[in-house]
């Protein structure tokens, strides 16, 4: 049987709560069923169209682009794209409707549809469509009117009367009406199944999504749920059987499909252009800028640099890529003109042109970086340039400037598809199944957080949360949970990825409003853009960039400027700091895992820092690269190469594959991959959605290496490295860019500690540690941290001396910035003479005055905190009943005790500039409890107990269920390792208690100290403030 049938009305989970299967699932099933093509018509957007396009390509299927538009009368009209013009019109139509509507409430008027209809083919839709909706509401007359309106827009040649059979009693009557109407008006009758899920099993997920959409549960959903599981993809034979009485309707689908010529491969996207000065072309202008920049950067252009630049510029010209480089150069210039630190990272750092243009800061020629990692002739997709910017307001300024320059609709953030994750999936399924809220809440509390890789079966997790094994809905829950996880939930915006297309981005992809005011977001995410060869610029906000910028500005203001471009690259004190893992606050290498590696790694030069950054990543850890590298570095293991041809590639990393570029070079050398193939390999490594792509590349490389006489052992080693990189490997160029920031932050910590800590404190939250931990670290480094003071502090934390910082008023939670800044202006005019003077000349409200007094900020005017608290209340007189009483009496209150001051500090500022709370508590603790600083002198295997406030809980995916807990006390930080079974036994204590006492055996290895926990108890004390903890990120 050779029936020809194309499903013209598919709907994926990207219809958000109206489809039960991911596009990938739909495409794979369609291919299995032998469909030649599949149209995906998601509601009000083309959200999943790129994924469908990519999956269809892999499955040998043709993806037809379509969309269901919500019309002004509430109906949903399926539209199919026939031509590129139709696509552009549809994209603009969706963008227009989306951008004028609140999120999720888009409607299109029939009039504007008529203007955009050329190049589009319409179907009359299912029961939500305009035709059946009108028939149900107004009978035959209504249906006739609806059809006539559609004919007036699309004619009879671009319209199909859609007919569906889901084996529901009564539908034949509607279908008879549709067939008659089609015949009477000469409109083709088209059979579809309105597929909402790939297989019959998807019906259950669809029912749950329906409940979520309607805010109800399955028991109460009634008619909202599907009749049966028939709305799945069906093959040609089944459709032919189903429409045995209307064979023409099935055959018509293939004829329609033939007319739908457009596919996303012919999107017609062009790289952004840049308006060059008169008399210049983009190519000539880029050449000029590059050679001028190179002269500045290199001082003199060596033959090697010249050759590299010429090679790159020629390639850029051939690829017509000049506009993109100029756009990014222009943005970087804007940043520099406005005093905003900017640094390119990622693969762009492999380009000498980027370096010459000032986009990146790493010299790729000197660093022997692989340009092909960035750009090559045979690339199917184009690289992004990632720009690191100071997080916060400065980054937003840059983004808004880009919107402004490319307005209207010339720039948008890429989307970020938020999917159902463990907690949200459980919450929604639990609600749909009408399970007790308390049970769902308990599950989320116990098993939700961050990177928990569950060590318990779902059934056991649910039992712990209070759902008994015998619960009648447990089977449904167990079956639904994995199926809902990973499906799209809603569209967010990517943290920084921006697509630029001068003035016409909305005809390339639909745009809509982001939830954040002033932001426009595309309907495609960054992988979608990459798949279609759309370039973007990533504006990534780095807290450390903001901190560095602040630190440098403070240095400048204090007359001790530091030029990051000129700091010595081999400063011994900086490397010593890194070697002893004294890296709290330092970029990237401050995490517990990094600090545990630094004393073993002992970085001695800049490249070592890049290695340090790259080595503590899931890729190298899974690929078992960490241990061999450290052993070889320490001279305990010989440096060997599986194949002699690997020596030039892996020499710098002692024969161990650590960077993505090395994988690509290996593929090019041992597998003789072309640059294009290497690029395909790079994309497979970076592509997180599908294992299949990676496996195919692995096989291709394996076969290529075998063909090139590479030994079996070397083949296996390379393939294993490749597999581990799929988990997450770091590009060398990226590591080198980050290493610059690591080095700069380390250098400042050593040579400008006061400015360094002030910069960090002014840009919280950022990094790994809370501000309380940073302050304690500053104290341990000899910095006097002075308290917030109304007579001396500014709004931000400032530097008073080389070894002293003053906490700013910004740390006092609840203090309005404008009121504080008004006070600072008043103080600048004339210092405050007394508390009465302060109260008279400032505009703080009573609560703010109390906060200032409690935090100690008024001590300079009142003597002590309680005196200030007593005095500021006299200003309030809430009822005016005591107006006659004299308020100027001396405070009868006693000054706060030491512990009270600490508690008040944490309450008002989340930090204390004095002793760590554990220090104050020490005398009352069991004398057997050691301080973290005491552990260093003890032998390996000693039995110890440590206690402190929890500042970090981590359960990395690479740690096989082990949990790492960091406790802070008055001498530093103690790290404990918790076995999976102990964690499960003490899960609630570990995850909930703000302070812990941990007993176990000491593990000392190459200067790295851990406590292997065997007993964990809560440390409860009223004096211990709840400090912020960095948990499960």
């Amino acid at each position: 049987m050779t029936e020809r049938y194309v499903e013209l009305h598919g709907r994926s989970a990207f219809s958000f709560l109206r489809g039960g299967s991911a596009p990938e699932e739909m495409a794979a099933q369609a291919a299995r069923l032998g469909l030649p093509a599949l149209a995906q018509c998601d509601r009000n957007g083309l959200y999943g169209s790129v994924r469908m396009h990519a999956s269809a390509r892999e499955s040998g299927l043709r993806a037809i682009v379509g969309c269901e538009l919500a019309m002004e009368d509430g109906s949903a009209l399926p539209l199919l794209v026939a031509t590129r013009g139709g696509y552009r019109a549809l994209s603009r139509l969706i963008s227009t409707a989306q951008l004028r509507s609140p999120k999720g409430q888009m409607r299109v008027s029939w009039e504007e549809l008529a203007d955009s209809s050329p190049g589009l083919i319409a179907l009359t839709g299912d029961c939500e469509g305009p035709l059946l909706g009108a028939w149900r509401q107004s009978g035959d007359a209504g249906a006739l009117a609806a059809l006539r309106r559609l004919i007036s827009i699309f004619g009879t040649d671009r319209l199909g009367v859609e007919i569906q059979r889901h084996r529901v009693r009564g539908e034949d009557r509607a279908n008879r009406m549709l067939a008659e109407l089609a015949r009477a008006h000469g409109v083709p009758l088209v059979a579809t199944n309105g597929a909402c899920h790939a297989t019959p099993e998807g019906r259950e997920v669809l029912d749950v999504l329906t409940c979520i959409r309607n805010h109800t549960h399955l028991d109460a959903a009634g008619d909202l749920l599907t009749h049966n599981a028939e709305r799945h993809l069906k093959g040609p034979e089944e459709m032919a059987r189903l429409f045995g009485d209307l064979p023409g309707a099935v055959a018509q689908t293939a004829r329609f499909a033939e007319r739908l010529e457009f596919g996303l491969e012919s999107l017609g996207y062009e790289f952004p252009t840049y308006p060059v000065p008169c008399g210049e072309t983009m190519d000539s202008f880029l050449q000029k800028l590059t050679w001028f920049g190179a002269q500045q950067r290199y001082g003199g252009i060596s033959p090697q640099v010249r050759s590299q630049l010429e090679r790159e510029l020629a390639l850029i010209a051939r690829l017509r890529f000049e506009g993109y480089f100029l756009v990014v150069w222009d943005i970087c210039s804007y940043c520099r003109q406005h005093g905003i630190l900017v640094q390119g990272r990622g693969s762009a750092a492999n380009s000498a042109v980027c370096y010459a243009l000032g986009i990146t800061a790493v010299d790729p020629v000197g660093g022997r970086l692989l340009f092909e990692r960035f750009l090559s002739e045979g690339c199917r997709t184009w690289p992004d340039i990632d720009l690191d910017l100071p997080s916060g307001e400065r980054r937003e300024r840059v983004i808004q400037e880009v919107y402004r320059r490319y307005a209207p609709r010339g720039a948008a953030m890429t989307a970020n598809v938020i999917t159902y994750r463990s907690r949200s999936a459980m919450r929604e399924i639990g609600k749909a199944l009408n399970l007790p809220e308390a049970m769902i809440g308990c599950f989320c509390d116990l098993h939700g957080g961050g990177d928990y890789s569950p060590t318990l079966e779902l059934r056991d997790q649910l039992r712990m949360a209070g759902l008994p094994e015998s619960h009648p809905r447990l089977p449904a829950l167990l079956s639904l949970y994995p199926r809902l996880r990973g499906l799209p939930r809603h569209l967010g915006q990517h943290s920084g990825g921006m697509i630029i297309c001068r003035g016409e981005l909305d005809s390339v992809m639909p745009l809509e409003n982001a939830a954040m005011a002033g932001r426009i977001v595309a309907q495609w995410d960054k992988d979608d853009c990459e798949d279609l060869g759309i370039v973007k610029v990533d504006f990534l906000g780095l807290g450390m960039m903001a901190a560095l910028q602040d630190s440098l500005e403070i240095c400048q203001a204090r007359g001790r400027p530091v030029d990051l471009a000129r700091i010595p690259k081999d400063d011994p004190a900086t490397f010593e700091l890194l070697q002893r893992a004294d890296t709290v606050g330092v970029f990237q290498v401050e995490s517990r895992a990094q600090m545990a590696t630094l004393p073993r790694m002992k970085p001695r030069d800049f490249y070592d820092i890049a290695v340090e950054i790259a080595i503590i990543r899931p890729g190298p850890i899974h690929g078992d690269a960490v241990h061999p590298y450290l052993e070889r570095r320490a001279g305990r293991q010989p440096v060997t190469y599986a194949d002699p041809r690997l020596e030039p590639i892996l020499g710098r990393t002692l024969g161990v594959t650590l960077f993505q570029e090395q994988i690509l070079r290996i593929a090019m050398v041992l597998g003789r991959f072309t640059a294009a193939e290497a690029d395909e390999l790079r994309r497979a490594i970076g592509f997180k959605r599908s294992d299949g792509r990676m496996q195919r590349m692995q096989e291709k490389l394996r076969e290529a290496m075998v063909r090139n006489d590479v030994g079996p052992q070397a083949v296996e080693e390379v393939v294993r490295s490749l597999a581990s990189f799929a988990l997450y490997g770091f590009p060398e160029s990226h590591a080198l860019s980050f290493a610059l920031i690591v080095y700069a932050s380390s250098y400042l910590k050593v040579h400008r500690p006061a400015e360094f800590y002030a910069g960090l404190i002014n840009n919280q939250p950022m990094g790994f540690y809370s501000v309380a931990t940073l302050v304690q670290d500053a104290r341990r480094h000899g910095i006097r941290v002075k308290p917030a003071c109304a007579a001396a502090s500014g709004w931000e934390t400032s530097v008073e001396a080389d070894d002293a910082i003053r906490i700013g008023l910004h740390r006092i939670r609840g203090l309005r910035e404008e009121a504080a800044k008004a006070m600072l202006r008043t103080r600048a005019e004339r210092p405050f003479a007394s508390l009465e003077d302060f109260s008279a000349r400032t505009s703080f409200d009573p609560a703010e005055r109390r906060l200032l007094a409690a935090s100690g900020a008024l001590n300079a005017l009142a003597g002590h905190r309680r005196a200030a608290l007593w005095a500021v209340e006299a200003e309030a007189d809430p009822d005016g009943l005591f107006a006659g009483s004299a308020s100027g009496e001396l405070s009868p209150l006693e000054a706060m005790t030491h512990l009270e001051r600490i508690a008040a500090d944490y309450r008002t500022q989340s930090l204390t500039v004095g002793e760590h709370p554990m220090g104050a508590l020490r005398a009352s603790l069991d004398p057997g409890i050691l301080r973290s600083g005491d552990l260093a002198g003890l032998p390996d295997g000693s039995r110890v107990t440590v206690a402190g406030t929890v500042i970090c809980r981590q359960r990395p995916g690479t740690a096989k269920g082990f949990v790492f807990v960091s406790l802070e006390d008055e001498t530093g930080v103690a790290n404990a390792v918790v076995r999976p079974n102990l964690f499960e036994a003490c899960r609630a204590v570990i995850t909930r208690e703000p302070a812990l006492a941990i007993q176990g055996r000491l593990q000392v290895h190459e200067g790295v100290i851990h406590v292997k926990a065997d007993l964990i108890l809560p440390l409860r004390s009223a004096q211990l403030p709840a400090a912020a903890s960095h948990d499960f990120h």
Binding site: R136, S138, R203, A229, R473, A874, S885
Partner: protein, 485 residues
């Protein structure tokens, strides 16, 4: 003037626990009834010893104490416990005030010093008998009596007020949250510390509320009590979440009712002339019964026996989820009612009749049928009969189509032979013959998420001998649902 304060700590928790037939001896706590993020409101002493404190979430509390029994508030249990407190207080003095939940203030005027302590002790003992652990304080003002009651083990009389008040925590005077925060920041933690501050300066800073707080701290706050009116309604009621299916737990609750009502009646010098029992059943019906007493009495044993005798022979249609017991107060001696007078002479009303019919037909078999939303044909629920007839819905634009179907109720068992998937031959009690033509299947299914999952397939089959039948198939079982006219 002397006042006694009868105080039940963790009152809401005690109220719930005393209403349960199986006593909870170990740690227990009361959970707020918020659906999400519920936290503990109260914890009993064993729970507090295990580190349980109000404000913890349920998972936090269970992490600290796995044996912790968690309960939610029960307004009816609290009302019942409050009535028990009032009854005990009424036995002390006619001038008693319902001050707050779990707190009754009694004017002890007229009781000489040696006797009043013994009387108050007896009231506390009586409350213990009623399942309430209460304490009592005796002092010059109602407020100081309350402070004393909170500290009492179980009764405390205050003589030296300054010495008593000074070390009490500030929270004893119940400052408003804003004031408490300010005073905490001042380091003021006891009533003595607050009273030591100049009152005018406190007032200047903390306003009238602060000045009043200062007076409470200094023991200068006095007030007349607002006596509750003499009890006229002698009834007790309780609802519970888990329906009761057997007699013992119900008797336990009714025993509590009887003891409390008997105490109230005797305190007021009255007896019960009749008992009226209402049992709220899970099927939303109510079982009502009036029990005439041959001889009015306030003896709890006799009252309980009357109830017991009735309940022993009672079979309710469904489990019991609430009870109400009222005693008709009469002054002894009263006119004795007829010996054989019973509830049978009372109008039981429509609900009770329904309950009886339901008892005959089985649970869930009585009511007005209502089609349930969903795709399962004939799926219906039974509602309580409506008191008024609702109007018909508007006619749909598309009227019914096709011949009417005469339903077989229940559907007839059938044997169907198929040709492929299509019925080819039918045999059932109504017809037999070869299928001339068949249309279908129409497929529907639902409740896939529960044990009640169903799936069915429908066919319309025209038989050669004549007649068009609707066939149903569920799994391998065929039935005939009806015949088309």
């Amino acid at each position: 003037m002397r006042y006694a304060a009868l105080h039940a700590a963790e009152f809401a928790l005690q109220a719930v626990l005393r209403s349960e037939a199986l006593p909870v001896a170990g740690p227990a706590a009361l959970l707020s009834d918020r659906a999400r993020g519920a936290t503990l409101l109260e914890a009993n002493a064993p729970a507090r010893e295990a580190g349980i404190e109000p404000g913890l979430t349920a998972p936090q509390a269970l992490a600290r104490c796995a044996q912790l029994a968690l309960r939610v508030r029960s307004p009816s249990a609290e009302a019942e416990a409050q009535a028990a407190l009032a009854a005990a207080a009424a036995a002390l003095s006619p001038r008693a005030e319902r001050t707050a939940p779990g707190l009754i203030t009694v004017d002890l005027a007229g009781h000489p010093p040696p006797a009043r302590l013994a009387l108050v002790r007896a009231a506390v003992d009586r409350l213990r008998f009623l399942g309430i652990e209460a304490t009592a304080g005796i002092a010059r003002t109602p407020l100081i009596a309350l402070y004393a009651a909170r500290l009492a083990r179980p009764v405390l009389e205050v003589h030296d007020e300054p010495a008593f008040l000074s070390p009490l925590p500030l929270s004893a005077a119940e400052p408003e949250p804003g004031l408490a925060e300010i005073l905490e920041s001042w380091g003021i933690r006891t009533l003595g510390a607050l009273a030591a501050l100049p009152q005018a300066q406190v007032g200047l800073r903390l306003g009238a509320a602060g000045a009043r707080l200062w007076e409470r701290a200094a023991g200068r706050a006095d007030r007349p009590i607002d006596p509750m009116p003499a009890e006229r309604d002698f009834s007790a009621a309780l609802e519970w979440e888990e329906p009761i299916e057997i007699l013992e737990p119900l008797l336990f609750i009714l025993r509590r009712f009887v003891e409390r009502l008997a105490l109230g009646l005797s305190g007021a010098g009255l007896s019960a002339g009749e008992l009226r029992l209402e049992l709220a059943l899970e099927d939303e019906t109510t079982h009502r019964r009036s029990l005439g007493l041959p001889d009015p009495t306030a003896d709890p044993e006799i009252l309980f026996r009357a109830l017991h005798t009735h309940l022993e022979s009672l079979r309710t249609a469904s489990a019991v989820c609430g009870a109400r017991l009222s005693a008709e107060p009469v002054r002894p001696p009263v006119r004795q009612q007829d010996l054989f007078e019973s509830g049978l002479k009372d109008p039981h009303g429509f609900s009770e009749t329904l309950a009886r019919i339901e008892a005959l037909l089985g649970a869930g078999s009585v009511g007005t049928p209502r089609l349930e939303p969903g795709h399962r044909p004939d799926s219906f629920a039974l509602d309580r009969p409506a008191l008024s007839v609702v109007g018909m819905p508007p006619r749909p634009a598309l009227g019914p189509l096709g011949p009417p179907l005469r339903r077989f109720r229940p559907p007839l068992p059938a044997e169907v032979a198929c040709d492929g998937a299509t019925p080819a031959f039918l045999r059932c009690a109504a017809a037999q013959g070869r299928v001339r033509s068949a249309r279908g299947p129409w497929i529907s299914s639902g409740q896939w998420w529960s044990a009640g999952a169903w799936a069915r397939e429908e066919w319309d089959a025209e038989l050669e001998p004549g007649g068009v039948f609707r066939l149903l198939r569920s799994g391998a079982v065929w039935r005939v649902d009806g015949v088309y006219d």
